[in-house]
């Protein structure tokens, strides 16, 4: 729990005779390590509060009263302190402690997963007494017991360092494992019949200093010395945690978290950590195949045939109905480079803007790009104020939840949540204001204005929230903004953002789209109306066209359709060729019947994917992609942080990298995307995409934690002149990054509306051959929408549809050890306030029928006091479509009726 940025004043300390400068308040053990003096330890962990329990880090510390043995993990450096880490006394004490730790340790290293990477083993070699004098019988415990579905505990090996239990209590907030008994019989265990069901349980395996905690997916799979380590970035969600991929014999075996200061602090959520199984052990697509027609069996073909068949479809569509009859859905799981390649193929070669990486379940991309941004570190700054109007980050963006929790629980930040139902944030929020779906903008507005609580909002909670938000001495307002419910339209979130910016010019935003690289997709223009580099079609037309070496009018004329538009058009027979880039609209799109109809109607459905799914079973051509772990590239997280992902294993079968598929398809279309390698693509992005100006490989390599784009003004090197034949192409392009508001500045004004001068520049130079510099990498905010929220119907319930970490989604279901954690679809309950259940005269578990304009579902109910009256909450279930079938997509909110089923 050390905040390395907090206090920079220093103190002078002598460690082993060497004078060093330590930060004030820094622990001796940390200061020593920073100066290459390693003090052995088991219980100390730099991301948790010290407890001084294992006593391994005893050193002699003299603060003027003579040297005394002290635990270096508990003592803060003070001026003039003298530390001795290797005196006879220290060595004796450390050897003594290590001998104590070993006397009851089973020493079954030859069959222990930790053997070879075990701190106990390593420190026994480096700091141990060398032999054991213990002749008594060791403690015996039942060999591993399951403390959860994912984690096994071998209590014999445990040295009781309190790391796992501290993690569970202090970091994850799931105090489900504890010390039991006392003295020599002390052990770690769960309470009877309460398993360690934490979304973050895998971290305890990673931080265990012995082999006491092991994970079911990795257990007995490899020996550490056989593992190859590849540093990469998890793409399980958009947080972008840094990881190490461990492989052996071309097999993905384990992900471990890397301590990335700005992002994940070494933690991972279990879905991210164990989701590797999907790529390694899931049912992967390995060969391209085609279906001659809807009835025929799939036929495995060579790549060239599959690409030719695809090119024929695209060419046919272009010839018959023009570029507008080709559409691309998905791409949020691709690398930045692949997204760029596909965007260039779609918008530059094919010429369609009907491209959408989101499936109508996220936010308006122009909102994401138009808001002044905040990084995770800025959002979670000590003592700050955080307003959360978002999807449940605990369920969807696990590690962001850990960071927010840390800020609130340990760093004095205050969190105000405005949401329809209680979420993972609620337990540590200073105030959690319940706002019925659709009323968020008004509630937020009233909070920031200091108005009275709107009708139906708890006055006390509202007052507490308003007080926190009104305390401007706490620094700028940080907003975590997302879409709290799939049944509430994205326009509501847009409206919330406008209302916040109207009241608080200092507000900066962290948006919470969840799909892995959806931010990369937006940046790379894989959404309607945008081109690579955070520019709109209009603003970036000439510069991007020149960068791509095409005429400006070869780019799409106007903003294309979004996912809903594409599927609606396809269902109406207006789309000839639909390319699915890892998208599964039948499962993921709110109206799955529409999606199914669209796929059945479209003559040519091309799917690029990793796994067979509900959507690509309609595809006429299926192209297998190499996917995570088997692809190099970069990815962008929700802060706009670009980090590398790395290939650790060969792609399965004949699968190809996504960008290669795009390039090959371009060739089949007699075009050339103009790059032969990822380096080529990154260089082109740095040249062509304004927001990524200056993001060369050299810059990227300066920080393994990634680079937040756009680069701060002044730090970005001048844009290289593009390889186009216009001689003056690079006329003062280095002004671009300066115009882009640096997220760190939190300057709302520059982001809300680009300056007049810039706008004038843009329009003035639109005529000539010279590609004008786009007017900055940030697009204009979409206008504040006029929301029409229907008045509550006396008999109606307002619908809230949320997501769970473990659901019927592909990655979870393809991971053998995660799949059982998802609630079976038929058991997912509709949650109502207990008083509503009482009014309906039913108990938990009874079936209710929820009916809306579009359909009805029959599900069990569960009383939940976190759900306000007249609201029904339901966790969506991708496989059956239950829940989402109720959503009325054309309305801002959905009202349903709830009836008992006799």
């Amino acid at each position: 729990m050390t905040d390395t940025n907090q206090d920079v004043s220093t103190v002078q300390v002598t460690i082993d005779g060497r004078a060093i400068e330590a930060r004030k308040g820094e622990l001796v053990i940390a200061a020593a390590e920073r100066n290459d003096v390693y003090i052995p330890r088991f219980c100390w962990h730099n991301r948790m509060n010290p407890v001084g329990m294992c006593r391994m880090c005893l050193v002699e510390i003299d603060t003027g009263r003579g040297p005394a043995l002290q635990p270096s993990c508990m003592i803060e450096c003070s001026d003039g302190m003298t530390v001795q880490t290797a005196t006879e006394t220290v060595v004796k004490a450390q050897e003594g402690v290590l001998e104590f730790l070993l006397i009851n340790h089973p020493l079954d290293c030859p069959v222990c997963d930790k053997g070879g990477e075990c701190p106990l083993q390593d420190q026994t070699m480096s700091h141990g007494p060398g032999e054991s004098r213990y002749v008594e019988e060791k403690r015996h415990k039942e060999k591993p017991i399951n403390v959860s579905e994912l984690v096994l505990l071998d209590r014999e090996r445990c040295i009781l360092c309190d790391r796992c239990t501290r993690f569970a209590k202090e970091v994850a907030g799931d105090p489900l494992i504890h010390f039991l008994n006392r003295g020599n019989t002390t052990e770690i265990n769960t309470f009877p019949d309460h398993e360690f069901s934490s979304y973050f349980s895998g971290n305890t395996v990673q931080i265990c200093p012995v082999g006491a905690l092991t994970s079911t997916p990795y257990r007995f799979k490899a020996r550490p010395w056989d593992l190859a380590h590849t540093e990469s970035t998890c793409t399980g969600c958009s947080v972008g945690c840094r990881i190490v991929i461990d492989t052996s014999r071309d097999e993905l075996l384990r992900f471990d978290g890397v301590d990335s200061e700005p992002v994940n602090w070494s933690w991972l959520c279990d879905r991210g950590r164990f989701g590797f199984e999907a790529f390694e052990r899931g049912a992967r697509l390995t060969d391209p195949f085609v279906r001659r027609d809807a009835q025929s069996e799939p036929e495995v073909v060579r790549w060239t045939d599959a690409l030719d068949r695809t090119a024929e479809a695209v060419t046919g569509a272009l010839d018959n109905a023009g570029a507008g009859s080709v559409a691309v859905l998905g791409g949020a799981h691709l690398t930045n480079e692949a997204q760029y390649a596909w965007a260039k193929l779609a918008k530059g070669v094919i010429g369609t803007d009907h491209v959408d990486a989101q499936l109508d379940d996220g936010l308006d991309p122009r909102l994401v790009l138009g808001l002044p941004g905040a990084t995770i570190a800025e959002t979670c700054a000590a003592g700050g104020t955080i307003l959360v109007y978002a999807n449940d980050v605990k369920e969807e963006l696990g590690v962001l939840y850990l960071r927010l929790r840390h800020a609130a629980v340990w760093d004095g930040a205050k969190v105000v949540e405005v949401s329809a139902t209680a979420s993972g944030i609620t337990p540590f929020a200073t105030a959690s204001v319940r706002a019925r779906p659709g009323t968020g903008p008004d509630v937020v507005d009233a909070l920031l204005r200091g108005d009275a609580a709107p009708d139906g909002v708890d006055g006390d909670v509202f007052a507490r929230a308003a007080e926190v938000l009104g305390d401007t001495a706490r620094g700028p307002l940080r907003v975590v903004l997302g879409r709290p419910s799939l049944a509430e339209s994205a326009a509501v979130a847009t409206s919330v953002a406008h209302r916040i910016l109207e009241q608080r010019a200092d507000a900066t935003f962290l948006t919470t789209l969840r799909r892995s690289n959806v931010y990369g997709a937006i940046d790379m223009g894989l959404v309607p109306g945008l081109l690579p580099g955070r520019v709109t079609l209009e603003d970036g037309r000439s510069s991007v066209a020149s960068g791509w070496g095409i005429a400006a009018n070869e780019l799409p004329n106007a903003s294309g359709l979004d996912a809903r538009g594409i599927l609606t058009a396809a269902a109406a027979g207006k789309v000839d060729t639909l390319i699915l880039l890892g998208a599964d609209p039948v499962a993921d799109f709110a109206d799955h019947e529409l999606a199914e109809r669209a796929l059945q109607t479209t003559p040519n459905v091309i799917a690029v994917d990793l796994f067979p799914n509900e959507s690509n079973r309609y595809a006429h051509v299926v192209l297998p992609a190499s996917g995570f772990g088997a692809s190099d590239g970069t990815t962008t997280n929700l802060e706009g942080r670009v980090t590398r992902v790395a290939q650790a294993v060969a792609p399965p079968g004949n699968a190809h990298a996504d960008w290669v598929i795009a390039a090959e398809l371009a060739f089949a279309l007699d075009a050339d995307l103009g790059f032969d390698s990822l380096e080529d693509i990154r260089a082109e992005i740095a040249r062509t995409a304004p927001s990524h100006a200056g993001l060369t490989d050299e810059v990227l390599d300066t920080d393994p934690n990634g680079i937040v784009v756009p680069l701060p003004a002044g730090e970005a090197p001048a844009l290289e002149s593009s390889a186009s034949d216009e001689a003056d192409a690079a006329e003062s392009p280095d002004a671009d990054p300066a115009d882009a508001p640096a997220p760190e500045d939190g300057d709302a004004a520059s982001a809300e509306a680009p300056s007049d001068a810039d706008a004038a520049d843009g329009s003035d130079s639109a005529d000539g051959d010279q590609p004008e510099a786009p007017r900055g990498a940030t697009v204009e905010l979409p206008p504040r929408p006029e929301l029409r929220i229907p008045a509550p119907d006396a008999y109606g319930f307002r619908l809230v549809v949320t997501r769970k970490m473990y659901d019927q989604g592909t990655i979870v279901q393809q991971s053998p050890h995660l799949a059982p954690l998802a609630t079976p679809p038929a058991d997912v309950p509709a949650r109502l306030h207990p008083a509503e259940l009482a009014q309906l005269g039913i108990a938990d578990g009874a079936l209710v029928r929820i009916s809306g304009a579009r359909g009805q579902i029959t599900v069990p109910v569960l009383g939940d006091s976190g759900v306000p009256r007249r609201v029904v909450a339901y966790a969506r279930d991708a496989a059956s479509g239950a829940g989402v079938d109720l959503i009325e997509p054309d309305l801002a909110v959905t009202d349903v009726h709830v009836e008992t089923v006799s």
């Binding site: 006394t89 010390f179 003295g183």
Partner: protein
């Protein structure tokens, strides 16, 4: 109760309970001058009460012997709320003086609590009573109810503007909770495990991380008398820094075991054991005695004339600690006696830090093996080296590799007998043995060669 104390020594804390069987009732308590001390204290400014207690030089009776008035002054000024926590978790083997005070004169304790709270400036006190003391709990509960009803506790007590609440908390049966930071953890509802000092010095960061004074039952029970009779009268008793009277719980091989209130600092061990307690049972010889609880280095015949005074006992290499004196006669098997003491600490180790959790059990196992006749010549040295790894160099006062003093409480008995009675180990081992581990505690001395070498001769020496 012994009634043999000389007339000139007032029985400050046990007088009432010795004289009356119903001393635990408020009626008897008030009839015998009860709550006069509180009334006297409320007449004074809080700081003046503290000054009185300082002047009386009342040392803490829990074991460490720190001056109570000084301890109260450690609370950082201006930080509120602050709490008084009463340590009634008396559970060291042989210690039962607080139990008698809680069972038989609970109002005296309550009055002491109220005086202390007034002096410190807290409105909330917690009385932590050991879980096994059912009668004490019952009597304290009844007495608190009586005191509330009589207006001694509660809002605006005795018509003043001072309000105070006292909460009675029942322990769950762990010796370690007698350690003040573990007691605070337990009181907060957590496992009773000690906190690290620094930063968790109770006076600064105690209960609920607020300034907290932790006082022993006997310490507080002295306050009513001091307030009634004056600091001077208290200070007139005793010697050196050890003033007033003190309770000693004597057990073991004496004719008349029990709690004895004696003048602090002037009475000698001989007075106590041979006078108050009637000497060794069946007229046998003294072999050794534990002077201040199970964790103190043992004393022997040559220490009998030491006064029961903190500094003198400390100089001789042991401590008065919690006032538990265990007497062993010539028939005692000291190896087995030591095993019993070590086993206590092994069982009561909380398990938090490694040396105590693993080391005390290992010591017990080695002693078990030796007693079972399966010891090796190297085992005594091994045993002492394990001690050394818990309490480096076996100094006194002990150094420690542990968080709290529980672990270092196990080695003293072992070191005492290895130094004093090596032949008893040899009898079990069937062989002589060599010791390489330093034992730097002053009490760890071989038997004096001449009868002339008395208590004073051994004190302060540091054999190596």
């Amino acid at each position: 109760m012994s009634d043999t104390s000389p007339d000139r020594i007032p029985q400050i804390v046990t007088g009432r309970l010795a004289a009356h069987d119903d001393a635990h009732t408020i009626a008897r308590y008030e009839a015998t001058g009860g709550y006069a001390g509180l009334r006297a204290a409320l007449e004074l400014a809080p700081d003046d009460v503290t000054a009185q207690v300082k002047e009386a030089s009342l040392l803490g009776r829990g074991g460490a012997g720190f001056p109570a008035g000084v301890k109260w002054g450690f609370c950082p000024p201006g930080v509120w709320p602050r709490y008084l926590v009463v340590n009634g978790d008396e559970s060291e083997p042989g210690t039962y003086k607080d139990r008698i005070l809680m069972e038989r004169d609970p109002h005296q304790l309550i009055e002491g609590i109220l005086i202390a709270c007034y002096a410190i400036g807290c409105a909330q006190a917690f009385l932590y009573c050991r879980g096994e003391m059912a009668l004490a709990h019952e009597r304290l509960g009844a007495a608190l109810n009586e005191a509330y009803a009589a207006g001694y506790i509660g809002k605006n007590i005795l018509g003043t503007d001072y309000s105070i609440d006292v909460v009675l908390h029942w322990g769950a049966g762990a010796y370690i909770v007698g350690e003040e930071t573990a007691l605070i953890e337990s009181l907060e509802g957590n496992r009773g495990m000690p906190r690290l000092k620094p930063p968790f010095f109770p006076a600064a960061k105690g209960l609920y991380l607020q300034p907290t004074v932790v006082n022993n039952v006997e310490t507080l029970s002295n306050l009513p008398w001091i307030m009634t009779n004056g600091a001077e009268a208290f200070h007139a008793l005793g010697a050196e820094t050890s003033r007033g009277t003190r309770l000693f719980a004597v057990s073991g091989h004496v004719e008349n075991p029990g709690v004895h209130e004696v003048e602090f600092g002037t009475t000698t061990f001989r007075d106590l054991i041979y006078g108050h307690c009637g000497g060794i049972r069946e007229g046998r010889d003294l072999k050794a005695f534990v002077p201040g609880g199970a964790s103190s280095p043992w004393f022997f015949e040559e220490h009998l004339d030491l006064p029961l005074e903190t500094k003198a006992v400390g100089n001789a290499g042991s401590m008065l600690g919690s006032g538990a004196i265990v007497v062993m006669d010539s028939e005692t098997d000291v190896v087995k006696a030591s095993r019993t003491l070590v086993r206590f600490f092994a069982v009561e180790s909380c398990g938090k830090c490694t040396p105590c959790r693993e080391g005390t059990t290992w010591m017990e196992r080695i002693l078990d093996r030796i007693i079972a006749g399966q010891g090796r010549a190297s085992d005594v040295d091994l045993l002492l080296d394990v001690c050394d790894n818990i309490s480096p160099e076996l100094t006194w006062p002990p150094k420690q590799t542990t968080i709290c003093p529980l672990g270092p409480s196990a080695p003293p008995s072992v070191a005492s007998i290895v130094r004093r009675f090596p032949e008893e180990f040899e009898r079990y081992l069937g062989t002589s043995f060599e010791v390489t581990v330093p034992m730097k505690g002053a009490a760890y001395v071989p038997k004096p060669d001449t009868a002339a070498a008395g208590a004073s001769g051994s004190s302060g020496e540091s054999p190596s």
